[in-house]
Every structure is written in C-alpha cells, then in structure tokens.
Amino acid sequence: MEKLSFKLNAPTSAGGTRALAIVGVVASGNLEVLLERTSPANVCTIDIATAAHGFGAVWEAVVRDFVARRAAGGLRISINDGGARPDTVALRLAQGVRLIEEREA
C-alpha cells in the first residue's frame, strides 16, 4: 500500500456540528472516506492509503481542487482506497462533506 499525506489551507470551514462522517466502501474501484472534525478551522489534512502506486500527482490535483471548491476546513480526512478513479474520489469527498454538514437528528 502506498501512503500519501496532504495538509492544505482550506478557506471555507465545514458547516454543521457532526463530529464525524463516513462514506464509501473499500472495494475495487471504490474507496472509503472518514471525516473527523479535528483539524484547525482553516486547515484540512488528508491521509491516504492506496492500493494503486505512483499516482501521487493525480491525488494532489484532486485534493487541491476539493479543498478549493468545497467547505473542507477543520476536517481530518482519512481514506482507504481500493484503486478508485479520480472522479470517484472527488465524488466521495464531496459526499463526505455533505454528510458531515447534515443536521443531526
């Protein structure tokens, strides 16, 4: 497994009050994304364990776009990746933010 780590400035903080959210499943072409509200408000850290080696540049591009477009501040994001495509990764990250921003029941 290849391990990658990113710590980025995130201009917008994730809304809501949930402490954590999880989306996705670790399967071929899929990934799970765990979001924990444990980072400073304008920081997003993303730790990735991936079965597919050598795609660091692509992960970086996806992750930077995510942090620029979505409310990712304050989040520690941990990913277990089963070889998902970049668009699936972007989708899960967005789904994760939406879930953690959901109003608690």
Partner: protein, 305 residues
C-alpha cells in the same frame, strides 16, 4: 404499462451498503455504533498481503431501537472482501453476542458474506466457532438472534453455519444461503452436477424462495429495506426458545428433510413434492403471488429453531 418515477423513498436491500441498511432498519436516529471507524480497529493481517483495509473491518455493530424496543445490531459490508470474516470482523460479532447475553437484548445480524477470508483463515474459522457458541449461549436465556439475508454476497460458508444457529431467518428473493458456493460445487462435482453459470439454477438451489419453501428460512420479504424492517419487528414478537428439546427437533427436521428430498436433482421437484401448484412458475412470481402459493404448502420449522 408501468409508471417509472425516481425511487426516492424505497431502498433496495440488495444494493444498499451495510450502513444504509442499518439506518433504514432501526428507528430513526436511534443507532449508536460500537467500535466505530474512528477507533480504527482494523485487520492486523491484510497489510502483509498488501491489501487495502477498511476502518470497521467490514462489519458495523452497535445498538438501536426497533419499534421502540432496544436491540443490538450487526451489519456486514458485502462489498469489502466479499463480506468475509476475519479476526477483527469476527471478534466484533462475538463481542456483540456476548453483550447480548449479558444485557438480555435481542440481536439482528445483517448477513452479507462469502464466508471466511483466505488471508485470515485460521482466525476466521475460530471466529465462526466462537460466534456460533455465542449465539447459542445468548439464546439459552431467551434472547432472540434474528438473521436478515438479501445482499450481494449472500450468506455462505461459515456465515451460513451461523445463520443455522439463529432463531429466525428473514430472506429476500435475491438472498442466497448455502455452505458451499456454486463455483466450488462445480469444481468438485463437475458441471453436469452443478453448472455455476446457470444462475437461475443457482437461485433455485440456494435462493431465498427455495429456502423459504424448504423451511430453511422463516420470513420471505421483498428486496426493500422497509420490508426487512417490518419482518424484523414481526420476528421479535415470537417467543425465544433454545433448549435440548429444540435442538433435537431441529435434528429430526433436517433428517426428515434429507430423507424426503435428498434424491431430488432440482428444487422444482421438491416444490412439486410438497404440493405447490405449477411449481416451475415459482421463480418468476411476484412476492404476493409467491406467498399465496406457498402459504399452506411450505415446510415449516415446526419449533425446530
């Protein structure tokens, strides 16, 4: 003509993830997870094989309420390693069942498993044995252990053995219950005996409708989360019993079943034998008609669970 609209309220059990099933099953907002993903209790073995891990090791456990009643729940994620049992995965379920006995709370197990992980074979097999023991030890003082089967991986191998110890089994048409899988049977017994690519045949042999007709499953439902929930609520109304008499009755049930149907080469023959009209139509029937035809013909558990 059928109207086609976006299905917002319905949730296919078959398609849903373990977490989605749990959310739909228990009373809204009542679910509390034990040993959640943030605790990162993952498999200690998969990294040796350079395989990806999942934070919950493929099983979600916790407690919730079912129609107001407190229950313990476990849901396997069939898409992670085929829902197969490993050391941590198994230990979570063992622990839950031991808690069930201590707390005298009923358990719902949402099966979706191909059996034991090859990579954790010894730990997995041990876990199966421990879980079966834990089920019986919970059931002895009257706890109900209810199995729900309808996912993509089915309920195979050690999972099916555990299912065999449950007090009630709820199954959908898509669900399959068997110890050996189709490919294994074909490899060992030959394609004439079992053609694993003949999926209609696979479902006739192992699928939910057959299991229900044969008395191997107790409640048959649509592939719908709300149907599983409704059935689970019904299942909790029956009394839980687990004593020597029950086990002896189960032994007799199985012996009689083998005696009566052991020679049949296809399930259709068994359905005919128990008196189902036009039994070749069974696989194609919608749920309501299937239940109607099965009603007074299907084999029952006869207090053997």
């Amino acid at each position: 003509m059928t109207a086609a609209t976006a299905n917002r309220s319905s949730l296919s059990w078959y398609e849903a993830s373990a977490r989605q099933r749990l959310e739909a099953l228990v009373d809204a907002g009542s679910f509390n997870e034990f040993i959640g993903p943030e605790l990162r209790e993952m498999s200690p073995h998969l990294s040796i094989f350079d395989l990806p891990e999942q934070f919950d090791d493929g099983i979600v456990i916790g407690r919730g309420r079912l129609d107001g009643q407190p229950v313990l729940v476990a849901a396997q994620e069939g898409r992670f390693m085929g829902g197969a049992f490993g050391e941590v995965h198994g230990a979570k379920l063992t622990g839950l069942l031991r808690a069930a006995r201590r707390l005298k709370q009923d358990v719902l197990i949402l099966f979706d498993t191909g059996g034991v992980r090859l990579q954790e074979a010894n730990a997995g097999e041990l876990a199966i044995a421990e879980i079966m023991r834990a089920v019986i030890e919970a059931r002895r003082p009257g706890v109900r252990v209810i199995g729900l089967i309808g996912g993509r991986a089915g309920c195979y191998g050690g999972g099916s053995l555990i299912a065999g110890t449950c007090s009630t089994l709820i199954v959908s048409e898509q669900g399959r219950i068997s110890v050996s899988g189709p490919e294994v049977i074909e490899t060992n017994k030959g394609i004439e005996e079992f053609d694993s690519r003949d999926r209609a045949f696979v479902w006739r042999t192992m699928g939910g409708k057959h299991r229900y007709l044969l008395g191997g499953a107790d409640i048959f439902v649509d592939d719908e989360a709300s149907a599983f929930r409704h059935a689970a609520i019904q299942a909790l109304k029956s009394k839980g019993r687990c004593d020597l008499g029950l086990l002896e009755a189960e032994q007799q049930r199985l012996e009689r079943r083998l005696q009566r149907f052991g020679e049949a080469s296809d399930a259709v023959g068994i359905w005919q034998a128990i008196g189902v009209d036009n039994s070749e139509e069974i696989p194609g029937l919608p749920t309501r008609e299937f239940l109607r035809r099965a009603a007074d013909k299907r084999e029952h558990a006869h207090d053997a669970r």
